[in-house]
Structures are given as structure tokens and as C-alpha cells.
């Protein structure tokens, strides 16, 4: 690379970051020339978002240095990055829905004239950037009225109004359809002509040749390869992304029983996030659901457990159709959900273990509706022992570790002996040591005859735990793989195309 253009662009050398026990980024280097699109690939936890957070000033590296446009660059806060002309666009949109497009673009630095906000100015400036992006919505339109793709363009317009010369796009197409993705790409190319550089983070490998100039692959916090040509075949990239040694140990899986516990037929979400999903799970069987962010995994789990409504399709437990008006119907039919976010959806952190475990279970232990404190205590105590939560019934759940909190959510359901456990990201945010206990517990539930549906962004976990793996991509069921044919390459190929 010639030094002159490197000087005008972005460059990082020797970046490192570690949290208490784990190194999330090791000796990472990166160059982005003006008008260049560099793709950053890697599995979940490979360190991609650490890189983008460091460059955007959200977190600070423990080692290494960066230069930007020929000067040393060390942002202490996101504001420094923005001031230097570097913008980060998150995969989740962070706009204020009730404010207009123009107000969102100028939020925090609204120009004032005669003591009032100069709307003419912000509308014309925002309008200029929107036209540049080819978005034909009026700048005074509230963001709430826009579709997701258009909201994302507002985020980009906002970055452009800040005169950003380097944009980091984190999974920008996760929530977009094919047409919208095409439109986004043509906008990115147009901005590239103007000399804007991009760091493009994505799981979708089929997009890479379409948009990127160069490709970097990260694995376990390290740069494993660089391709100056984005036409590198997908299977090569996949190999590089997953080429880690499989040193994690998952519990033994017993053979499932013969009778089908859960069967789902032609299930389609009311909001269209997934379509025509059909599968069945036998007693004692663990079926893993794999897919990238936005594939509709969580939505599918919520629909099966009655939390969200479905447009069409049937759900059967033990061959009987379950009519779902809400989670209550699912619970009564024997389908229980361990939701994705245990702190917001699974537990009442301020309440005791006893109250958390008893919640929703009075129908099975409160005779004639009497929920005596002693009964609640005993009910919780036996569930705690069965699941192996390290905590007493009178302890506040908020005081427990992540792993024990997750076990508490499961403890709520074990006494019902449910037919079907739906586990959505059961090890998210739980440290590696505590995960083994969760895996053992899941295997134990299956051994006791429950059907298990396991969703995880950690592909090792899905493949290591499941008898079969269902792959979702953009809300469509791509395949159900038997244990022997499910491996990283096939799953990622199916999930990302």
C-alpha cells in the first residue's frame, strides 16, 4: 500500500483489549484508504464489535495506536470520534421515533435563530443529505412513519451531516429485505465515489463480493486472514471464520424417544418475521435453531410459546392442537419458554427466588387458591434443589450470578414437568465456566423426557447440544440437518445465503 493514501485514511496497529479473564482483541491491525470499503468478518464473539467500538470511541483499547487522516487518533468518547469524522451505525437503530427526520439528524446540536430552533435550516440541510442518499421522504416527517430501511438511511444521513469520512456499518442489512439491501449498496457505492470510507461488518457472506473491496477475517479476537480481493469464495471465508479447535465439551446426548412431543406446521408470524416453518420434536430430543441476527429465531420461539401471535399454522403438543391466546395457554399445554433476556423477560430481579419460582405456578400447588408462604417456600426449595441453583428461597434474585439467574428461570418450570422447553439464548452473558452446568441441566431435562428447542447465536453450542439443527435465514426454514450432517460450514452457508 502506498504510504500517501494510507496517511490520508485510517490506520490501526497492535490494538488489544482484554476483560477480566478473556482477551477479546489481540494485536489487531487495519488500514482503510479513502473511498475504500473494508469488510470485517467473523463469528459471534470474534471481536468485530470490539473493533468498531474502539474506532468509534465507545471503549478504549489496552494497547496499540490509531491514525486518522495523517494524525494520531485516540478517541476518549464517542463525541471525539464524531468530531473527527468517524461515525458508527449500529445494527439496532437508535433514533427518537417521535421526532422528525431533520430533528433526529441534528439532535443534540439543533441550530438556533432568534431563540428558536431554525427549522428551515435543519430541514434544508437534512433534505440535502436525504437526496444524496436517494430517500424521498420529507425532512419534517416523523421517524416513526418510516420503514426500517429508511430509518437506517436517516442514521447514515445523520453521519453525513456530521461530515463523517469513515462510516462503520454494523450488520446494516440484518433487518433489510433484498430490494432494500440493493438500494443500500448503491448508496454506499455513491458515497464511496465521494471519498467516504467504510468498515462493513456483516454475517452475510453472500453480500461481501457485491460490496467490499477487501476482506478481513477475525477469529477469537485475532486477525486470521486478509484478502485484497473480495471475490474470495464463500467456503474459504467460512473455513477461516470457524477454524477453531473444538475444545468445548458438551454432555452426552441420549437417543430420543419415539413419540413426538411438539409439532409445528406451516407457522407464519403475524408480522411476517418468519414464514412457513414446520418441524417436530420428539420426547428427549434437542433441536437446535441456528440463524444469524434478524433471521426470526426469537420471533419463532415467542410465537410457539404464545407470547406473540401467529397469522397461520398449527402448534400441537402430544398430537393435540393448542389454541394460543397468550403464554398462559402454552404453559397449560406444556410449552414453557426460557426467554432471551432473563433480566427483562425472565425474572423479577427485586423479588425473592421463592416468589420468582412460584410465579405462574399457583395452579399446580395452591390448593383452592391458597398460596401459603410456607407452601411457596417449599415449592421453590424443591425446584432449587432439582435444578441446582446456588441460592436460597428468601434471597433476592438480583443478587445471584448470571448462571444461577438462568437456572432460576428454568426452576420456575421444572415442577410442572413440561412437555416442551423452549430455551432462547440460555447461555447469553454467562461465563464459560458456568455454561457447562447449564448444558448438563439441558441434557438432564431431555433425558427426563422433555422435548427441547434450543436457540443460540453460539453455533458451537447449537451443534454440540442438538440431535438435529434447523437453520433459519431471513425468516425462511432452510433445512433441518441431522446430527451427522450438521457442521459449521453447512450451517453458515445455509444461514448466510
Amino acid at each position: 500500500m502506498d504510504t500517501e493514501s494510507a496517511n490520508r485514511g485510517f490506520s490501526a496497529r497492535g490494538l488489544g483489549k482484554r476483560y477480566v479473564q478473556t482477551e477479546v482483541l489481540v494485536d489487531f491491525g487495519l488500514d482503510v484508504r479513502p473511498g475504500e470499503i473494508v469488510a470485517l468478518l467473523g463469528e459471534n464473539g470474534a471481536g468485530k464489535s470490539t473493533v468498531s467500538s474502539i474506532i468509534a470511541g465507545v471503549i478504549q483499547p489496552d494497547s496499540g495506536h490509531m491514525t486518522w487522516r495523517g494524525r494520531p487518533y485516540a478517541p476518549a468518547a464517542p463525541g471525539d470520534a464524531i468530531a473527527a469524522g468517524i461515525g458508527l451505525i449500529h445494527q439496532e437503530i437508535r433514533l427518537l421515533p417521535d421526532l422528525s427526520i431533520a430533528e433526529n439528524v441534528f439532535v443534540g446540536r439543533l441550530p438556533v435563530r432568534n431563540g428558536v430552533v431554525d427549522r428551515e435550516k435543519i430541514n434544508s440541510a437534512a433534505g440535502r443529505q436525504l437526496r444524496r442518499l436517494g430517500l424521498d421522504a420529507p425532512p419534517s416527517c416523523p421517524v416513526r412513519m418510516l420503514r426500517v430501511a429508511a430509518q437506517q438511511q436517516v442514521e447514515i444521513a445523520k453521519a453525513l451531516c456530521l461530515r463523517s469520512k469513515l462510516l462503520i456499518l454494523d450488520e446494516p442489512t440484518a433487518a433489510l429485505g433484498a430490494d432494500e439491501t440493493d438500494r443500500l449498496f448503491s448508496q454506499i457505492r455513491r458515497l464511496r465515489e465521494d471519498g467516504v470510507s467504510f468498515i462493513y461488518i456483516s454475517h452475510r457472506l453472500d453480500e461481501i463480493p457485491l460490496i467490499a473491496d477487501r476482506v478481513l477475517v477475525l477469529r477469537d479476537g485475532r486477525l486470521v486472514s486478509q484478502h485484497d480481493n473480495a471475490q474470495t469464495p464463500v467456503h474459504v471465508l467460512v473455513k477461516e471464520m470457524v477454524g477453531r479447535n473444538m475444545d468445548r465439551i458438551f454432555p452426552e446426548r441420549d437417543a430420543p424417544q419415539n413419540d413426538v412431543a411438539l409439532s409445528v406446521k406451516n407457522l407464519t408470524a403475524a408480522d411476517g418475521t418468519f414464514k412457513n416453518v414446520s418441524f417436530s420434536v420428539r420426547r428427549g430430543e434437542i433441536i437446535g435453531i441456528a440463524g444469524i441476527v434478524g433471521a426470526g429465531r426469537t420471533e419463532l420461539m415467542r410465537a410457539i410459546s404464545g407470547a406473540d401471535s401467529i397469522a397461520t399454522g398449527t402448534i400441537k403438543v402430544d398430537g393435540k392442537v393448542v389454541r394460543m391466546a397468550g403464554p398462559r395457554d402454552a404453559v397449560r399445554a406444556g410449552i414453557v419458554l426460557v426467554p432471551e433476556d432473563r433480566k427483562l423477560q425472565g425474572l423479577i430481579l427485586d423479588h425473592t427466588l421463592a416468589n420468582n419460582i412460584a410465579a405462574g405456578n399457583f395452579d399446580i400447588f395452591a390448593r383452592n387458591g391458597w398460596a401459603w408462604p410456607g407452601k411457596i417456600h417449599d415449592f421453590a426449595h424443591s425446584a432449587i434443589l432439582r435444578v441446582g441453583v446456588k441460592g436460597g428461597p428468601d434471597q433476592r434474585v438480583g443478587e445471584l450470578s448470571g448462571g444461577n439467574q438462568q437456572k432460576t428461570v428454568i426452576a420456575r418450570w421444572v415442577s410442572r414437568s413440561p412437555r416442551v422447553f423452549i430455551l432462547d439464548e440460555p447461555t447469553r452473558g454467562i461465563d464459560v465456566g458456568a455454561r457447562a452446568a447449564i448444558y448438563d441441566m439441558i441434557a438432564g431435562l431431555a433425558r427426563a423426557g422433555a422435548a427441547i428447542v434450543l436457540v443460540s447465536s453460539d453455533l458451537d453450542e447449537v451443534l454440540g447440544m442438538s440431535h438435529r439443527t434447523l437453520v433459519l435465514s431471513r425468516g425462511r426454514q432452510r433445512a433441518i440437518l441431522e446430527g451427522t450432517e450438521a457442521n459449521h460450514e453447512t450451517v453458515i452457508n445455509l444461514a448466510t445465503t
Binding site: 410459546s305 407470547a307 397468550g326 403464554p327 398462559r328 402454552a330 404453559v331 397449560r332 419458554l337 426467554p339 427483562l344 423477560q345 425472565g346 425474572l347 423479577i348 427485586d350 423479588h351 416468589n355 412460584a358 410465579a359 405462574g360 405456578n361 399457583f362 395452579d363 395452591a366 387458591g369 391458597w370 398460596a371 401459603w372 408462604p373 410456607g374 411457596i376 417456600h377 433476592r396 438480583g398 443478587e399 420456575r412
Partner: protein, 318 residues
């Protein structure tokens, strides 16, 4: 076994406020020679009956993370309905009493539906009812009071059976005990805590959150109806301006008793202590001839101090 018995009688969150109440009584006993007497104790009990009945319903509302601003107005609507049905409708008084209480319950059901089906925030729904029910209370008689209740009716509030207990007082005591039992020992009551703690967690656990909401507001309305009847008996008349700003005293009592406005926390024991704190303060300050304006300041300070001690104490614990 001992642990079970202890759990049954555990004072819960009300410990701090209870100590405050005792301190308050000690201070007033020292400051006024009239305070510590059976007669004054009965006076206090008499004065808190209406507030106490309202606070029972408000406790449930606040536990599920809601708020009911309409109780004062619904009380007025019920008390006017009672008089109007008796005088202008020609209903026998016992029937009118039942219908007046149901009218209060109807207001509560409307609030519950506005919140669950109409998706209004409880503050807004019950604020609308605060205005609406007050208007209805005035419309019935064009803003005039109703008098002419039979003697037996006002005796419900004035005649003290067994030397101390009037009928209205015993209604309050019985309802408070029922409320305590329900919130503490009934599955439905325990579910209210889960809903207030985190309604999405409760819903995903299979608890019928909407239905519980409608019931709780209906219950609060019914109790406002009961309070309206009790007030009519005590005043021997129905005033359309009755219960003005009672919602604030009621909320104050519940919050002083240790409930959290963000829901999931509180209890009948604490609420009753809170009601007594307000009652004792009013009574004691009156005995000391403190002006009503200063009394308002004192009550404001007590609310702030009680809640502050509670949150500071919780922070220290964890």
C-alpha cells in the same frame, strides 16, 4: 416449622413505618395531655375509616404498578348516587347502598378497560375518571347536597357497639383483614406482586395480566363506593364536593406504608400503618392547635422522609 410460623407473621416492609408511628404517638402523648386516651383513640379510628377503606383498594392498584387518581371523585359519585336513588328514585335505602357501591365499581371497571383495552397509562385513565366522576356527582342534583337520611343510617357511623366499634369502623377493619389475607395468602394476590414487579415476566409466566388489572381497578372503585356510603353515614348527608383530593391522602398513606410506585412492593400492613400515621398526625396537630396550613406542610415532609428512609435503607442493603 418455626420458620413457617415466622414467615406467616413477618412484618414485611412495614417495620420502619411502624416504628415511626410509635414514635409519633410517644411525641404527641408527651406534647398533649388529651392525646393518650381511649376517647381520642376512637376519634382517630373514626377519622381514618374513609381514608382507610380507600387505601385498601389503592394498595392493590399500586402493587400492580398502577395509580388510581379517581378514588376521591368516585367516592363523591357513589355518595351522591346513594342519596339520589333514595330521595329521587324512591329506592329503599339498603338497595340504594348496594347500587351506590356498584356504581363505584362501574367507574373502576371503566378505568380498568381504558388501561387494558384502551392502552391508556393508568395516570391518564384515572385522571379522566377523576374529572368525569366529579362531574357526574354534581349533575345528579345540580351540585346541591342531599339530606334526610333515616336515623338508623347515620347511626351506622355514630353508635359504638360494645362501647367502641361503629358499623363503618368494623366494615373498614373487616375489609382491611380480608385485603391483608388476599394479598398475602391468595394466589391471585401473590400474582399482583409479580405483575407489578415486571408485567412482561408475569405475562410470559402465564399470569393473566389484563384481567388482573381490570379486577384491581374495579375493586378500587367498589371500595370508593363503600367509602362514599360510609362518609354519607358519618356526615348524615351527601355532598357533591365530598372526597376532594382524597386520592392524594390515599396515595400518601400507601406510599408511607412502604409500597413502591413502580410496583411489585407494598402490603396491607404497611398501608394501615400509613393510614394511621396520617390520622395520628392530623389528630395530634389539631390537639396542639397547629393551623391546617402548617399541617399540610408537615404531612408533605412526612411523605418525603418516609420514602427517603425506605429507598436509602434499600440502597444500603444492596
Amino acid at each position: 416449622m418455626y420458620a413457617h410460623v415466622k414467615r406467616l407473621f413477618q412484618f414485611g416492609e412495614a417495620g420502619g413505618p411502624f416504628i415511626g408511628l410509635i414514635l409519633l404517638c410517644v411525641v404527641f402523648s408527651l406534647a398533649s395531655e388529651h392525646f393518650l386516651s381511649a376517647r381520642n383513640a376512637l376519634n382517630i379510628l373514626d377519622q381514618i375509616t374513609v381514608l382507610g377503606i380507600l387505601a385498601i383498594g389503592m394498595t392493590a392498584v399500586i402493587i400492580i404498578g398502577g395509580i388510581d387518581l379517581s378514588v376521591g371523585s368516585v367516592l363523591a359519585f357513589a355518595t351522591m348516587t346513594l342519596g339520589w336513588l333514595m330521595r329521587d328514585g324512591g329506592f329503599p335505602l339498603p338497595v340504594a347502598i348496594v347500587l351506590a357501591i356498584l356504581a363505584g365499581g362501574g367507574c373502576g371497571v371503566i378505568c380498568g378497560l381504558l388501561i387494558t383495552i384502551g392502552r391508556l397509562p393508568p395516570f391518564v385513565a384515572t385522571l379522566a375518571m377523576l374529572s368525569g366522576a366529579r362531574g357526574l356527582a354534581n349533575i345528579l342534583t345540580d351540585g346541591r347536597q342531599i339530606i334526610g337520611y333515616p336515623e338508623w343510617f347515620s347511626e351506622l357511623a355514630t353508635v359504638r357497639h360494645f362501647g367502641f366499634l361503629s358499623v363503618t369502623m368494623s366494615v373498614f377493619i373487616v375489609l382491611a383483614i380480608l385485603g391483608w389475607v388476599y394479598l398475602r395468602f391468595r394466589a391471585g394476590g401473590r400474582n399482583l406482586y409479580a405483575i407489578g414487579g415486571n408485567s412482561e415476566v408475569a405475562r410470559l409466566a402465564g399470569i393473566r395480566v389484563r384481567l388482573a388489572n381490570i379486577w384491581v381497578y374495579a375493586f378500587s372503585g367498589l371500595l370508593a363506593g363503600v367509602a362514599g356510603v360510609a362518609l354519607a353515614a358519618r356526615l348524615d348527608s351527601s355532598q357533591p364536593s365530598a372526597g376532594f383530593t382524597y386520592e392524594l391522602d390515599t396515595i400518601a398513606a400507601v406510599v408511607i406504608g412502604g409500597a413502591s410506585l413502580s410496583g411489585g412492593k407494598g402490603g396491607m400492613g404497611g398501608t394501615i400503618v400509613g393510614v394511621f400515621i396520617i390520622g395520628v398526625l392530623r389528630n395530634g396537630l389539631n390537639l396542639l392547635a397547629v393551623s391546617p396550613f402548617v399541617q399540610q406542610i408537615v404531612i408533605g415532609a412526612v411523605i418525603a422522609i418516609a420514602v427517603m428512609m425506605d429507598t436509602l435503607g434499600r440502597r444500603r442493603r444492596g
